[in-house]
Symmetry: C2
Subunit: 243 residues, 2 copies
């Protein structure tokens, strides 16, 4: 049995849940509440010294972190149904798509953290904020928490993030003109990598851009993807749901 340390709304956790669901792999769910900084608790750091979610504990007790790494491991270890192209060039294209999405996570966080981390962090006293900062190992993450706590993103910053996310849809649209899925004609980890982005663009960030008029192929792809049984099972639900 797998044990997954994750969050329902965490983008990286959503990718891993989708991959597990496609493979039909069950897991014991352990929720890690980022707004309570549980990912920096001594207990969690013992499991994952990097202090990030998701963390997948394998049936043999070893563990893995990083959604891209976890998903590719799962596909290599549980090859049915395959979630990677059969050819090396296709796998290279798939890995570049995952990287492309990873590099744009900052544009998504601006909108996602409003619902979660900002709500909590904005109520911290300066002393509590200073204490929290000490627990965050990377400077980039420290900066993001500081913004969430004290300096909300400006309209200009939000617009720039919306523009970059729209470019992602343009790039998807262009690929989908040639193939049924992002890389070739097989649903793959590349499609899974962008799901947490597209879900949020569709429900809140740039719903207009997700219309059949603006990005018809992305629109059709998104309908097809949401109809997969794994999508429901992975619980990629609304950010305002009670989940």
């Amino acid at each position: 049995m797998f044990i997954l340390h994750h969050g329902w709304r965490s983008s990286a956790s959503r990718r891993v849940r989708l991959c597990l669901a496609e493979k039909g792999l069950k897991f014991e769910s352990v929720l890690v509440d980022l707004t309570k900084m549980e990912q920096h608790s001594p207990e969690y750091l013992k499991l994952n010294p990097n202090g990030v979610i998701p963390l997948l504990i394998l049936p043999d007790g070893r563990s893995l972190y990083e959604s891209g790494t976890i998903c590719e491991y799962l596909d290599e270890t549980y090859p049915e149904p395959p979630l990677r192209p059969d050819d090396a060039y296709g796998r290279a294209e798939m890995r570049n798509w995952i990287r492309y999405a990873d590099e744009r996570i900052g544009n998504l966080i601006i909108f996602n953290w409003k619902h979660s981390i900002a709500k909590v962090a904005s109520k911290w006293t300066d002393a509590e904020l200073a204490e929290a900062m000490k627990k965050i190992p990377s400077k980039e993450r420290q900066q993001a928490w500081l913004r969430a706590a004290r300096q909300p993103y400006t309209a200009e910053e939000e617009n720039e993030a919306r523009r970059k996310l729209t470019v992602m849809l343009d790039k998807m649209e262009s690929n989908l003109a040639q193939h049924a899925w992002l890389v070739g004609d097989r649903y793959s980890l590349a499609d899974i990598a962008v799901v947490p982005f597209v879900k949020r663009m569709d429900e809140e960030i740039i719903p207009d851009e997700m219309s059949a008029a603006k990005h018809p192929r992305v629109h059709a792809w998104w309908q097809k993807l949401q109809a997969r049984p794994a999508f429901k099972e992975a619980r990629i639900e609304s950010f305002t749901s009670t989940l």
Copy 2:
């Protein structure tokens, strides 16, 4: 025959050259001069719209970018000698090492660009700088060029970068206590991924930390790595050499 668009001192180019050399794969070399912004020229953007090096043109005319992606493609397509672990878990660890190094490239650029981009960019007029900015697609890269041109990194920033690079050596030392190479007992793409970092730490950034007294296992690993014929062939030379 492969065609490699690259730079001798570019970290990502160095990784790909090392991988090609280990595989005994020859390539036609096309140098891209970053200080002349040749990576943003219309001719180059036709080959690689992302405007980054290296770019590997395959014998069949298709191309690939991103050093991690290129190296894994090469190992899948030309499996001898193998540069990845045989087991899926080992490959997962290898991919997390590559990602770990990738995420720290900003700490290396601070020291590397002094020798190249800063020398050129600091002489630009404001108009030339504005023109150059327009050609750089990502905000992060724009910021790095702006710093190189107008606002050299402070001693405090350099010290923080040195500290983070030292943590990389600590992490390597800890892994090398258990295995001959970074991941298990086979030289892999994980070792190749850190070579551009270690080379610069050794020659300029934190040479003391590279001593047998401070990081004995990294020291021995580095001697062993430099003795590989591929190292010489890949021309990972001094930043102050005439290359």
